[in-house]
């Protein structure tokens, strides 16, 4: 019930912005589209973060690197294995497989030995794992920008856009796929955790592992499942996002996406999968609309008219922090968060 109200209120708010901006070429409508498109990417990474937190109460700072590793795997298969022409659809599962293997390795080597340690120890361990992974990426691939082609090119052979134009903004096919995948995953995972035995077992493990073990649920097995699934989600995010950013570099997903994704997860509620989806969209829209407002609205200081963005450096970041603080002051558990 509450979930429906929050999602409805958010959608209504965005609709209001769209209605107010209708018919204005320089208005906010295109920026709402940009916000949703970019927010979907944040949401996809946030899903993995929430899943791990929900299942093991760990803030996983290595989530971004599952994506970078998967993207590099696809890059290697498509660009560097010259003897065989491997298509994207074949390279993608391989990338996901490597990401899952990395997630399982992390679970076995880092998480499980520290499972009974304070959570802060585990948090630091995930940071260390992320840094180690970035280091290995640098050694293997050098810190040079590389190109990963999208699933569907943004333009056709004659240079015409393949995407869909909404409010004067051309949404590329790759981003449409991300929005679709995110929506699908939010629903599927929401169902999984509320309706299936395995999903309930995961939630039970996160709340009381001893009691869970007593009733016969394998804690190690659920832990493997959680980290493997989180790595799968991270890998999917990386493979889908990197082609949009234009370049692939070591640590790309950690440096570019992880922080807004964490913010999205906290905003949505660290325990809510639909919340991650919603948080990503809200963060994306706040960021984008702040960009628009910063360049549209002006202040006169000492008789000089200045746009807001030149008066408040980093306006989008400031806007995100303000929204996050407001939401957490009103609802400390986040928009859709609750105890698991």
């Amino acid at each position: 019930m509450r979930t429906g109200i929050v999602i409805g209120a958010t959608v209504a708010l965005l609709a209001l912005v769209l209605i107010l901006g209708a018919g204005d070429d320089g208005g906010p409508n295109a920026y709402v589209v940009i916000g949703i498109a970019t927010g979907a990417i944040y949401g996809l990474v946030a899903l993995g973060l929430v899943l791990v937190y929900k299942g093991s109460r760990v803030f996983n700072f290595a989530q971004g690197e599952f994506g970078t590793v998967a993207a590099f795997t696809v890059f290697v298969l498509m660009e560097q294995v010259r003897s065989v022409d491997i298509p994207y659809w074949a390279a993608l599962p391989a990338g996901l497989l490597v990401a899952v293997a990395l997630g399982l390795a992390m679970e076995r080597v880092v998480v499980r030995p520290l499972m009974n340690s304070p959570r802060i120890t585990l948090l630091v361990a995930t940071i260390a794992f992320a840094l180690l992974t970035v280091g290995v990426e640098i050694v293997l691939f050098l810190p040079e920008a590389k190109v990963l082609e999208p699933l569907i090119a943004a333009t056709d052979a004659s240079g015409n856009p393949n995407g869909v134009e909404i409010f004067n903004y051309i949404l590329e096919p790759q981003n449409i796929i991300i929005v679709g995948v995110l929506a699908l995953l939010a629903v599927v995972l929401g169902y999984f955790f509320s309706k299936t035995d395995l999903g309930l077992a995961v939630l039970a493990t996160s709340q009381d592992s001893f009691a869970t073990r007593v009733v016969g649920i394998g804690v190690e097995r659920t832990s493997r499942f959680i980290w493997g699934t989180a790595a799968f989600l991270g890998g999917l995010a990386g493979i889908l996002y990197v082609p949009i950013s234009g370049s692939l570099t070591p640590g790309a997903m950690t440096s570019g996406i992880l922080i807004p994704a964490f913010t999205a997860a906290v905003l949505g509620g660290m325990t809510s999968l639909p919340g991650a989806f919603l948080g990503g969209i809200v963060i994306g829209c706040v960021q984008s609309l702040a960009n628009w407002a910063g360049n549209t609205y002006t202040l006169t200081i000492d008789d000089v008219v200045k746009p807001l963005q030149s008066i408040i450096p980093g306006l989008p970041d400031v806007a995100i922090i303000i929204v996050l603080l407001l939401v957490l002051l009103i609802r400390p558990q986040g928009l859709l968060g609750s105890e698991a």
Binding site: D25, G26, A30, Y31, I34, G35, A37, T38, I41, I138, L142, P143, E144, A145, K146, V147, A154, T155, G159, P161, G163, N168, Y169, I170, E172, Y241, I244, S245, G246, S247, T249, P250, S255, G256, I257, P260, G284, Q287, S288, N291, W292, N295, Q309, S310, P313, G314, P316, D317
Partner: protein
């Protein structure tokens, strides 16, 4: 900040002429036309034929002249305002430069700090972003860092019996890391001087540290903020402050931007402020308007890239001066391609004109095609036009590298400048003598980068650029204009 070089140059030339006249220079004392001094011998500049010793050719009492030439000289004793010491030095095609103007103060007395200098080696430290937001390929830098010095050694050339050894450290594109590695190179590796070629904030941070411990710093010209206060810092490329007005001139004169919609897209860092202001002032002077002036955070990502492209497309911006990190510009180009937005991109600096940027951006679309950026060095593609020895050295030492790349090419150019500076200082190399002599060097030309002319009150030695154009036909930058300051 505005610096006035021309009046200073006129004054220095005037002072030099007065001093030369006061010295009673007689007819016949000047070198015969088409000759130069190498290893104490007067040689034909073109054929290399030895014509005799300085004394034989010019008569007695000419050691001061040899000293005045500053480089490619022998001579004993000290000559006011120029090089000191004894010994030999050699050249490989670099222009040794014009006679330096006399100084208002005496040269450093004997003694001084010789850390990093032995009879055989001059050890220098270089910091570069091998990782971080704008990384340069470590393999290329490793090859390029001492390629020129190896080539010179192979040719039997030395700096008064010495060669140069390079210590390279990763500053991670982070100012505090840059300071840490520079400190390490000074204190642990005991380098003679420091250098950096990429990363404004890192160059500024390391140069400040170097100043605090009296170590010379020779680096790329970036911002003038703070750096213009450092007695030990020497810029070997034109600064942003110099390039801003030149870019405005280029936009209006060559690209017809006077009556077009012009924009500016820069990272929001104080160190880009002089570039921004220089460009704005230049455009105003040219009678052209900048209707879009956008600053973005250094941590900008895809969201900002999408927003600025949408803003510029909606505003109909036709020419965009971009001063950001290469990785974020690639992101902007990607979004511009998606939105079918293809303005004329222009800019200044170094890192944008590496072929990697063109290669990656061209793969993602065609928005970068035709972009025109100032660069302190010619494109690697055109390296043979400027110094064929680079490819020869690559073929000799790294034949499997297909002629190298632009990082190696840039390193080659920088090394050549270091060589010429050390040569100009002379055998008695101390940190104090290096700073003293370099700030009196004039028209130092290595044939690749800009000619350098320093003065005690002006350590920003360069004022010309090359113009490079990105071409997606071969995913590379090409040099379209060279050694230019007026358009």
């Amino acid at each position: 900040m505005t610096r006035s070089r021309r009046p200073l140059a006129v004054v220095l030339v005037g002072v030099f002429l007065l001093v030369a006249a006061a010295c009673g220079q007689k007819p016949g004392v000047a070198l015969p036309e088409g000759t130069k001094i190498v290893d104490g011998q007067v040689v034909d500049a073109e054929t290399g034929e030895v014509l005799g010793t300085v004394e034989e050719v010019l008569g007695t009492g000419t050691t001061d002249l040899a000293g005045d030439l500053g480089t490619d000289t022998t001579g004993t004793g000290t000559t006011t305002g120029t090089s000191t010491g004894t010994g030999t030095s050699t050249g490989t095609g670099s222009d040794p430069g014009e006679p330096a103007p006399p100084a208002n103060e005496p040269p450093p007395s004997s003694g001084g700090n010789t850390t990093g200098v032995t009879d055989k080696v001059i050890k220098i430290g270089i910091h570069a972003p091998l990782t971080g937001a704008a990384p340069v390929p470590s393999d290329s830098v490793e090859i390029g860092k001492d390629l020129y010095f190896r080539w010179m050694a192979d040719q039997g050339q030395t700096l008064f019996g010495r060669n140069v050894e390079v210590v390279l450290k990763n500053d991670q594109y982070n100012p505090s890391t840059a300071v840490a590695v520079c400190k390490e190179m000074v204190e642990k590796d005991k380098v003679f001087m420091l250098s950096g070629a990429a990363g404004t904030d890192q160059i500024q941070a390391c140069a400040r540290y170097a100043a605090s411990v009296g170590v010379p710093y020779v680096g790329a010209g970036v911002t003038e903020l703070v750096l213009n206060q450092l007695p030990n810092y020497f810029a070997t490329t034109a600064t942003y402050n110099d390039q801003g007005p030149m870019l405005a001139d280029f936009l209006v004169s060559d690209l017809g931007a006077k009556n077009e919609k012009n924009g500016m897209l820069t990272f929001d860092t104080p160190n880009f402020e002089d570039a921004r202001q220089g460009f704005l002032d230049g455009m105003k002077k040219q009678g052209a308007a900048v209707v879009y002036d956008r600053r973005v955070s250094k941590g900008a990502g895809t969201s900002e890239a999408r927003s600025v492209v949408q803003e510029m497309k909606t505003a109909g911006i036709e020419n965009v001066f971009v001063l950001t990190s290469p990785v974020w510009w690639i992101n902007v180009l990607k979004q511009a391609d998606t939105q079918q937005y293809e303005p004329q991109w222009v800019g200044v600096g170094i890192s944008m004109t590496f072929d990697t940027v063109a290669s990656v951006a061209c793969r993602g679309g065609s928005s970068i095609d035709g972009s025109k950026f100032f660069s302190p060095f010619p494109a690697w593609f055109d390296s043979n036009r400027f110094d064929p020895e680079f490819r020869q050295a690559m073929n000799k030492f790294h034949s499997n590298e297909n002629g190298g790349d632009d990082f190696m090419w840039l390193s080659w150019s920088g090394s050549k400048t270091f060589w010429d500076m050390f040569k100009g200082v002379g055998q008695n190399l101390t940190r104090e003598a290096f700073i003293y002599e370099v700030e009196r060097m004039r028209a130092l030309k290595n044939g690749i980068g800009p000619a350098l002319s320093f003065a005690p009150d002006d350590h920003f030695g360069a004022d010309t650029v090359h113009v490079s154009e990105a071409r997606c036909s071969d995913n590379r930058w090409h040099t379209i204009e060279s050694f230019i300051s007026d358009f």
